[in-house]
């Protein structure tokens, strides 16, 4: 068993350039993305602003937009801005309409701004609230003042002076409005370290790590196929039994991936707010085992190892979709399947949950993963036994 294990490890590490690239890519990406992970990094929208009103209030409004770190502003003419939208260099145009300031003072919330953007840009449309936030205060204040002016006889100047004084004297902290979030999985958890807006980015980076692990272990399985690199001869000469060959072959693929993943996730925890816990070692081992078996299974199904290389892109797509990396596959519930159906995917869920400090119940995930692993063990054993017999005969 040890000799097979050693051969596999040796073959695995013999392709140093590939291993190095696959090992370094995720670490490089973490390092590049880490500044964005530690702060509230909203993706920015790029807008060209045209001020048709040109009053003090509209200028002040434009200044507020320019100071908003969610927005990148430019000053282009209408036709230039449309050209830039067509080139995807900016997301849209914001026109501060003539009469903006007058209408704000009258608390008339009608035709204050015009937003021009491509119909296809759903992202920009969902962010249009940003532009309201910067004039909403003036609008509400004037609505309050005007209500009193319209219904009671009082000198405007005097009332306004008192109103602004009262407004400025308010203890603003008292008005912090909170949403309480409750997790449906139950149980107590530590405070979540993550800003919700960064979650997508974290999931994406975890996706990169695990996707590369899937590919790496598949390449390892292809390269150490029984008919490659004299393995058949080595089996015959060393007279290993099937269980010894089976375990050695499996562990030879699983152990290096396990080690690489441990190092990568640990480094990820150092450069981000993700946490590395000792229990992760078990989950990473389980992931490596599931994915190792899956790779062995694929290698057995496709007899020609060069063909397997060519299915890698489709393998990537399947992992990206069925591995539950960015999206939950609701469409599978149509056939009464809920959750992950790819070996390794459930443990990815558990590992990311633990590293991101989610209050996640891992037992159902682990049960599903172990069930899938068991199925893979049965399938791979049957196929490998046949292959082993053929090789030794």
């Amino acid at each position: 068993m040890l000799s097979i294990f050693k051969w596999k490890m040796k073959i695995f590490y013999s392709n140093r350039i590939l291993i190095l690239i696959l090992f370094i890519i995720p670490i490089l990406i973490f390092s590049i993305a880490s500044p964005s992970l530690k702060i509230t990094s909203n993706p920015k929208i790029n807008v060209s602003i045209i001020d048709e009103d040109k009053t003090d209030l509209s200028k002040e409004y434009v200044k507020k937009l320019q100071n908003d770190d969610r927005i990148i502003t430019t000053n282009l003419s209408y036709s230039e801005a449309v050209k830039e939208i067509e080139k995807n260099n900016i997301s849209g145009i914001l026109i501060v309409k003539k009469g903006f300031s007058e209408k704000i003072q009258e608390a008339d919330n009608n035709q204050l701004l015009e937003l021009i953007y491509p119909k296809d840009n759903y992202y920009f449309r969902s962010l249009s609230d940003i532009f309201v936030q910067h004039y909403f205060k003036d609008l509400t204040v004037n609505r309050n003042i005007n209500y009193v002016m319209d219904n009671f006889e009082i000198e405007r100047e005097l009332y306004e002076k008192e109103y602004y004084q009262q407004y400025n004297n308010l203890n603003k902290d008292l008005y912090e409005f909170q949403f309480i979030t409750r997790e449906i999985s139950g149980g107590e958890s530590e405070a979540n370290l993550f800003n919700e807006k960064n979650l997508l980015l974290y999931r994406y980076l975890f996706g990169v790590v695990f996707l590369i692990a899937y590919i790496l272990i598949l390449i390892q399985s292809i390269e150490t196929k029984i008919d490659n690199k004299g393995i058949r001869e080595k089996i015959i000469l060393s007279r290993v039994t099937f269980p010894q060959f089976y375990l050695g072959n499996l562990l030879g693929g699983v152990v290096p991936i396990f080690l690489i993943l441990v190092v990568q996730t640990f480094i990820f925890s150092l450069v981000s707010d993700a946490v590395f816990k000792i229990e992760l070692l078990i989950y990473i081992l389980l992931f490596s085992l599931g994915v190792g078996l899956l790779s062995n299974f694929i290698v057995k199904v496709f007899k020609n190892s060069r063909n397997i290389y060519l299915i890698i892109p489709y393998y990537i797509i399947i992992i990206w979709i069925f591995g539950n990396i960015l999206v939950n596959l609701d469409f599978l519930s149509l056939v009464n399947i809920k959750g992950n159906i790819l070996p390794g995917a459930s443990t990815i869920e558990a590992i990311t949950g633990i590293m991101m400090n989610f209050n996640i119940i891992t037992i159902p995930l682990i049960v599903r993963e172990i069930s899938l692993t068991f199925i893979m063990i049965v399938l791979v054993t049957l196929m490998e036994y046949k292959e082993f017999k053929n090789a030794t005969n």
């Binding site: 919330n109 015009e114 119909k119 969902s126 009262q166 008005y175 949403f179 449906i184 892109p313 797509i317």
Partner: protein
């Protein structure tokens, strides 16, 4: 000339009769597009992505009004569709996945708002469901700002009116009325914006862009497959040389026949979906995809001439494709990437090729970019011929 056509015909016939090639060129790309559509259609859809429940624990006329306003407001977010649910069903519906989250309006919520007290609103969702987390947190963040502004303005009115002799007696009445008006103001806040949507300008968040990027992924692998086949047929190519063909002629003729196959795939899969999405199709799009294919062929030929071992060649090329797709906008939307990662994405060919395709659609072709692609294609092909020479 006839001899050359014969060689192309031979190559085509061999490919058409090869089930494996048909699988790789037609069946697998079709499956890819179907799978992508299933998995990512919700992310590029114009309609709401999911349902979120609203529970009214207050049950007063004001809270009923508040719920009605939320339900009829299409503009709160393009991602969420609100539905009213009973409290006892809410948790179960989130657990079963029927609802992606629930907002609970607590008892005395609006009453406390009027009294300038803050009762936090409860929000339940599966926290590891990132798209939901992203959307509901966006809403809660936005609403928190509006509620705070409204409360501050109402409070200032309350304190101001109580300072004036002739308003003192009306303070409570003014407070109640203005509070009600201001709650409506939150929901009507976007009345001041005229939304002018430009037609036929696809962006990097659009379905068309997504289709183009998936097509790029598919072409990358089909071209890699054919290049790999070419490399494998080294002996056959040498035999063809003996009947009077030059090495570069064989390469170019074979590449032309591979291109025919890629065009079959483009016409069968890409064109119908593109037409479905945009209701238009133009020859220039197909020509540009051909240019992209040629560029990719030249890149793979160059790599294959530098790397002798087939497995290393495939592994390195696969790595290039994976990296380009992970960071170039295919598997993760560019707009959601932070600035640093967007810089990385600009280093991938997919980013530039996808962008150039968008320019083509809007009629803003960047001649310099096209020139660079043609130059690189020619240079890579030339260098690959040199590499072949070294190899021989």
């Amino acid at each position: 000339m006839l001899k050359k056509l014969k060689l192309m015909g031979f190559e085509l016939k061999n490919s058409i009769l090869n089930i494996k090639i048909l699988m790789i060129v037609i069946v697998l790309p079709l499956l890819t597009v179907v799978l992508f559509n299933f998995a990512f259609s919700s992310l590029i859809d114009q309609g709401p992505l999911f349902d979120v429940g609203l529970v009214d624990k207050e049950k007063t006329p004001t809270s009923t009004y508040l719920i009605q306003e939320i339900l009829k407001d299409d503009d709160i977010t393009s991602l969420i569709n609100f539905v009213q649910v009973k409290e006892e069903q809410s948790l179960e519906k989130v657990q079963s996945g029927e609802l992606k989250g629930v907002f609970i309006i607590p008892e005395n919520f609006t009453d406390n708002l009027i009294k300038m007290k803050n009762t936090p609103m409860e929000l339940i969702y599966k926290e590891n469901d990132i798209v939901v987390a992203y959307a509901v947190n966006g809403i809660s963040d936005s609403f928190s700002r509006y509620i705070q502004e409204v409360q501050k303005s109402i409070s200032a009115t309350y304190y101001t009116t109580s300072k004036f002799e002739n308003l003192k007696d009306h303070t409570q009445k003014i407070n109640n009325s203005i509070s009600f008006i201001m709650i409506s103001e939150i929901f009507n806040r976007k009345n001041g914006i005229i939304q002018n949507q430009l037609e036929n300008i696809p962006t990097t968040t659009s379905g068309v862009y997504f289709l183009v990027m998936v097509e790029l992924l598919i072409i990358s692998f089909i071209s890699l497959y054919f290049t790999y086949n070419y490399k494998k047929e080294k002996l056959l190519n040498k035999k063809i040389q003996t009947v009077g063909f030059k090495k570069y002629e064989i390469k170019i003729l074979k590449m032309a026949s591979y291109l025919v196959f890629i065009n079959i795939q483009i016409v069968i899969i890409f064109v119908p979906i593109f037409y479905y999405l945009t209701e238009s199709i133009s020859l220039k799009y197909i020509l540009f995809l051909n240019l992209i294919s040629l560029f990719l062929f030249s890149l793979w030929f160059l790599i294959s001439s530098l790397i002798k071992k087939e497995n290393i060649f495939i592994a390195i090329s696969t790595l290039i494709i994976v990296t380009s797709n992970l960071f170039g906008g295919t598997l993760f939307p560019l707009v959601l990437m932070p600035y640093n990662l967007q810089v990385v994405s600009k280093m991938t060919p997919n980013y530039w090729l996808g962008r150039e395709f968008l320019y083509l659609i809007t009629g803003n072709v960047n001649i310099i970019n096209i020139g660079i692609i043609i130059f690189l294609t020619t240079a890579f092909l030339y260098l690959s011929m040199k590499g072949d020479g070294i190899d021989a």
